[in-house]
Structure formats: structure tokens, C-alpha cells
Symmetry: C2
Subunit: 197 residues, 2 copies
């Protein structure tokens, strides 16, 4: 493609020199892959979280002392509801930007405007996903260990499968946060590469 | 200063044109102010959190039915301990980078390398501070509302001052997260301004 395009001015020659344009293409490819990973982690985290429902026979502490079926579900905690909302947004955003990033890969060079617009949403989403990971993780930790100071009893010895789902979902969401950090750093690095020395 | 410096090539002239260099200085000033706000919010959040200790006379539910003094403190919850650690790091980082950013303001132009290095740590810190805000917020919400599904009782009607401290600290930390988002967007915008059109 470089042979069909003739740079017109000194500054354009400097910007489009091979050593500057070459990494741009591999950055775009890494961008597509990372955005697909973001979509995948959002989807997996949400699916694992909403399939976490578990019903167990729990003894009641008053007469007639029978065991009644009680279920644990993600929608019993506002932190988990926020988690599902945040990771759904991350997954949908991941899907849309994977497609946009993939189609811009087919073009010769990506506009720095597109990169800048992506970074704005990436940063906002990092804040949202990291906060969701933190809040779901804090409630999950309380479920696992309890808190003796305020007599919040642990529940994971009763609802083991439920806790496994929650824990896996939080781990996948942590992975999604790391992918978002890498996406932002990649975009910033790609931008800084375009600045003439 | 511009009159003492003579651009040698076409591309350097393009980079150092007044319309490109003028915003760079106001960006650097905004950078110093935002980094100072980050330092201030980290300091306030940590101080408010560690001064939250409250002791109340709580009735015990077994004979001899006396009221015993029980205290609520931030270090009773791992989420709050992580919060203090994360916001301390944010505050110290804010202080150090305020000074670096201020001294680089005295120079003619900031290197894009410094901006790029700041962005790396800003992004990592955003993830850490947002996760801390989320986890402390989730535990604080449980303290305020409780969770009837797992019989975790609310405690804020007993430890009112403690909960006010926690709530204020989480709010300040949310402000710190927003400052970090603005810092990253400012850096990215400053970088994208240096790219020749």
C-alpha cells in the first residue's frame, strides 16, 4: 500500500515513515484481540453470576425444627446486581468495539480520533468494572469468612456451589479489568508513537 | 522563550507552532491542580476512615442482660483495611506527582515521555482506587441496610457516627476516582494534541 501513496510534505513523510507506521498495524491487531477478550470476559462473568442459584434444606432454629428449602441467588445482594449490570455493559461495549476496531483494521491507517474516543470510554469502563469487582469481591469475602465483630455469619459452607460461581465470576471480572488497563496503555502507547521526536 | 529558540526543520516548526504549544501549558497547570486534588482526597479519605472508631453500650442477649461497651472500628473489616491501603498509596502518589508535575511546569515544554509514564501509573491507580471504593461501599451499604436473606443485621442505627465517617470516606474516594479519570483523559488529550494533523 505504501508504494501507491506519495507523501506530499516533509512532516507527512516523517509521520508515515515505515518505522512509525509498522507498529501501528500490530497495535490495531492487539487492540482487536484485547477487545474480544473484554467481550468474552464480560459474557462469561455475567453468565456464571446469573446461573449461581442454589437451593438447600436449611434447619430453622424454632419449633417444629424442620428443614426448609432456602435458596441463595445473586439478586439477593445489591452488590451482585450492580456487578451484573456493569459487566453486561462491559461485554456489550467489548462486542461493539471489537467490530469497529476490526473494520478499521482493514483500512490503511486508523485515525488518532478513533483511538482518542475509545480511550475515553475505556477509562470510564475501567472505573465501573473495577468498582464492580471490588464490591462483589467484598460481599463474596463476607460470605466466605463472615465477620465476627458484627455477627455476620459465613454462608459458603452451606451454599458451596453458589460461592464457587460468585468467586469464579469475580475472578473473570478481575481479568476483564486487567484487559481494560492493557487496552488503555496500548492506546496511549500507540498515540505517543505518532508524536514526532 | 519562543523568540530565543529557532526551529531547524519543517517538522519541528509544525510541532512548535504557537497553536500547538499554547494549550500544553494550560494542560500542565490543570495537571498540577488535579494531582493536588488527588493528594487531598487520598489524605482526607484515609484520615476520615481511621478516625471512625466509635464505642457504644450494646445489650447482650443472655443473662445477666447487662449492656457492655462494644466498639466499631475500620480494621474489623478487610474491605476497609484494603481501602485505607489503596487510598494511602493514592495520596502519596498524588503528593509526589504534584511536585514532579509542578517542577516540570517551570520548564518550557514537558516531554511526552513524562506524560506517558504518568498515564501508566494513573491507570493502575484508577483500577486500585475504584476497586477500593466499590468494596468499602459494598460493606458500608450492608452496614446501613443489612441483608435479610442471610440474616446480616444492619449496624448503622447503633454506630451512627462510625457509619457517617465510612460514608464520607467512600464519597471522598469516589471523588478521587473521578479526579483520576480526568487526569488520564487530560494526559491522553495532551498527547493527541501533539500529533501533527
Amino acid at each position: 500500500m505504501a508504494s501507491t501513496y506519495t507523501p506530499t510534505s516533509e512532516s507527512e513523510k516523517a509521520v508515515l515513515a515505515p518505522e512509525v507506521r509498522a507498529p501501528s498495524r500490530s497495535f490495531a491487531l492487539a487492540d482487536v484481540i484485547l477487545r474480544f477478550l473484554l467481550f468474552a470476559s464480560g459474557l462469561v462473568a455475567v453468565v456464571v453470576m446469573i446461573t449461581s442459584k442454589q437451593t438447600e434444606l436449611v434447619p430453622i432454629p424454632m419449633p417444629p425444627f424442620v428443614r426448609i428449602p432456602r435458596s441463595a441467588n445473586f439478586n439477593h445482594s445489591p452488590a451482585f446486581i450492580y456487578f451484573v449490570a456493569a459487566l453486561s455493559v462491559a461485554g456489550i461495549y467489548g462486542l461493539i468495539t471489537t467490530l469497529i476496531s476490526f473494520f478499521s483494521l482493514l483500512k490503511v491507517a486508523r485515525g488518532s480520533k478513533l483511538v482518542f474516543h475509545f480511550v475515553i470510554f475505556d477509562v470510564l469502563l475501567l472505573g465501573i468494572v473495577a468498582a464492580a469487582t471490588g464490591s462483589a469481591g467484598a460481599v463474596a469475602y463476607l460470605g466466605l469468612k463472615g465477620n465476627s465483630h458484627v455477627q455476620w455469619r459465613k454462608i459458603c459452607h452451606v451454599y458451596g456451589d453458589f460461592c464457587k460461581h460468585i468467586g469464579s465470576s469475580v475472578a473473570v471480572s478481575l481479568f476483564g479489568s486487567i484487559v481494560l488497563v492493557l487496552l488503555i496503555l496500548l492506546s496511549v502507547y500507540a498515540l505517543s508513537k505518532r508524536i514526532p521526536k
